[in-house]
Amino acid sequence: MGSLSLIFPLAWRNLWRNRRRSLLTMLAIFVAVYSMVTMGAFMRAWSRAAVVETINNLTGHGQIHAPGYLDDPNVDHRISHLPSGVAEILTRPPVSHFARRVRVPAMIRTERESAPVELLGIEPEREQGLSFIPHAVVDGHYFVSADERGILLGEQLAKRLQTRLGRRLVLMSQGADGGIEERGLRIVGIFSSQPDIEKYSVFITLPQAQALLQIGDDFSELVYRLADEQDSGVTAARLAQQAGELEVRAWDELQPFTKALMEMSEGSIWIWILVSFALVSFGLINTLLVAVFERMREFGLLQALGMKPRWLLLQLLIESGLMLGLATLSGLLAGMATVQGFDDGLYLGVGASYFGAAQVVYPRLDWTELRLIGISVMLMGLLASLYPAFKAARQVPVEVLARATN
């Protein structure tokens, strides 16, 4: 081990011999590591926010419908009662919340305007913790009783209908018997949400909706939420087994766009990681090859004086290991600092919500991922250094010295 104390200072000093070149190489590694850390964190935050947003909005982690409802969501496709097996699953973990909804197309008319809408009849208490609506009312109030008579409108829809809180409007929809039913309702709350919900969705209480449509205790959909998103596939499958002819769908089947967005961001992280690896490897190979060619005489001398080829190899590997280590560590630290700096959330702007993503994302550090990036950059880099290092170690000492004499 005496030789290590010899090789290490040699490696360290050679690193600073061509300061500019070493620093540039380290900069490339730094940028690669930094971008992997930050991009990974932000892309994941973005897709995670999109998923949370989707699930919070109205989708939940899964839904149950009558056959045919998903193709043609109208009052004809209703659930009259839930099989007992389904009810049992819904009341136990991992299911944390569930609620019934009426969800049908409708029309709204005010004195001045009319607009097509999606009517949701909800159970106000049960939507707590299940969807966004209990906390989205910005003017007026959310339903205070289970059968309150009143309607919640989105801000944009209210504007479009040229109406406001406290005014009355007429809600029309096709009832169970095929005739058009209508009812006058007072606007008790205005809510704010993502644009398509604000423009098209209106909320009344479930009993009011059932009465309007004359469907007794029937409903259009059952939505549920889980303690952990990971369980959504399994839970949907278990429910489907008990559901008979009812159709069960997990959130990613109901919202394929969000699912695709998630996969796309995951994919782009991987592409970037590959690009970064290529950048690191080529940068290192190039730097080391140039350095090795410049120092052929020196390697010859070291060997002539009795240093073994494998010690030379080790010296070169330590040189690149030092560059890799310094650059990777500072890249990781800088990346962590950046991600930590956005702990309170990164505001993406209103535009983001048009793509189904949240306006604010919360990047988080993933220790497994940090470790993985650190270790794999080091390994890849050392692997790439092997070739130049072998080249240095394979030199016959005298050839190298001969070159010096002339």
């Binding site: 010899l6 040699l10 001398l301 070291l302 016959v396 010295l401």
Partner: protein, 232 residues
């Protein structure tokens, strides 16, 4: 075959041939060198430029492979050693002073001198002691911390000599050690090498053009066109 390395010769060459390949051209550098050098001899290798002096030293030092023949160092045939064994041989038995490029650029004078001792695993305190003494002896006291680039050609050469001397190798192979020195410094260096030769019985083989050096040595070999032309 002759009596191999069994006699008292520390270095023995038998019909050593070395041909360099330069593109399509074969350059014969050694054309059958046979010689025997006893332990403790102080030998000069003279000869015109291009006669093969450096090549011969390289063969004896195990720095390169020869085409045919054999070289024995302390009885061990070099053609049968692999690169790692040759490195061990150089480290344990041979001190080198090269013609031009001698010092490791990133190491100070003292570190260059200590380099071989460090490879050999000599303890730090002992290394410090020996390197300080030897550097003083070659007239470089006070310059221990300088890098090679901060020393003159002659000073660099003296560091190289100090490095070759310090670990008391059995053989020192020196290629033009006085090339960059004035005659006063050359004489000092020669005296030092002669002292070492006497004190510790180190075998010295010095390739040189310098008449002062040739005069100084007890045995003189003259190389001509890759063969031994004179031995007196």
């Amino acid at each position: 075959m002759e009596a191999g390395g069994q006699d008292s010769a520390i270095v023995k060459c038998d019909a050593v041939v070395k041909t360099y390949q330069q593109g399509a051209i074969q350059v014969p550098a050694l054309r059958g060198i046979s010689l025997s050098i006893a332990r403790g001899e102080f030998v000069s290798l003279a000869g015109a430029s291009g006669s093969g002096k450096t090549t011969l030293l390289n063969m004896i030092g195990g720095l390169d492979r020869f085409g045919s023949g054999e070289v024995w160092v302390e009885g061990a045939p070099l053609s049968r050693m692999n690169n790692s064994e040759l490195a061990d041989l150089r480290l344990s038995k041979i001190g080198f002073v090269f013609q031009a490029y001698n010092l490791i650029p990133v190491l100070s004078a003292r570190e260059n001198v200590e380099f071989i001792m460090q490879l050999q695993g000599v303890a730090q305190a002992e290394r410090r002691d020996l390197s300080r003494q030897i550097l003083a002896r070659v007239g470089l006291a006070g310059m221990e911390q300088r890098l090679p680039a901060e020393l003159s050609g002659g000073q660099q050469q003296r560091v190289a000599v100090a490095r070759a001397l310090v670990s008391h190798p059995a053989i020192i192979l020196a290629d033009e050690p006085t090339a960059n020195l004035d005659s006063k410094n050359s004489l000092e260096l020669l005296t030092m090498m002669a002292e070492l030769n006497l004190e510790s019985g180190t075998t010295l083989i010095v390739a040189t053009h310098d008449p002062q050096v040739i005069d100084f040595t007890r045995r003189k070999l003259v190389i001509k066109d890759g063969t031994v032309a004179e031995d007196y």
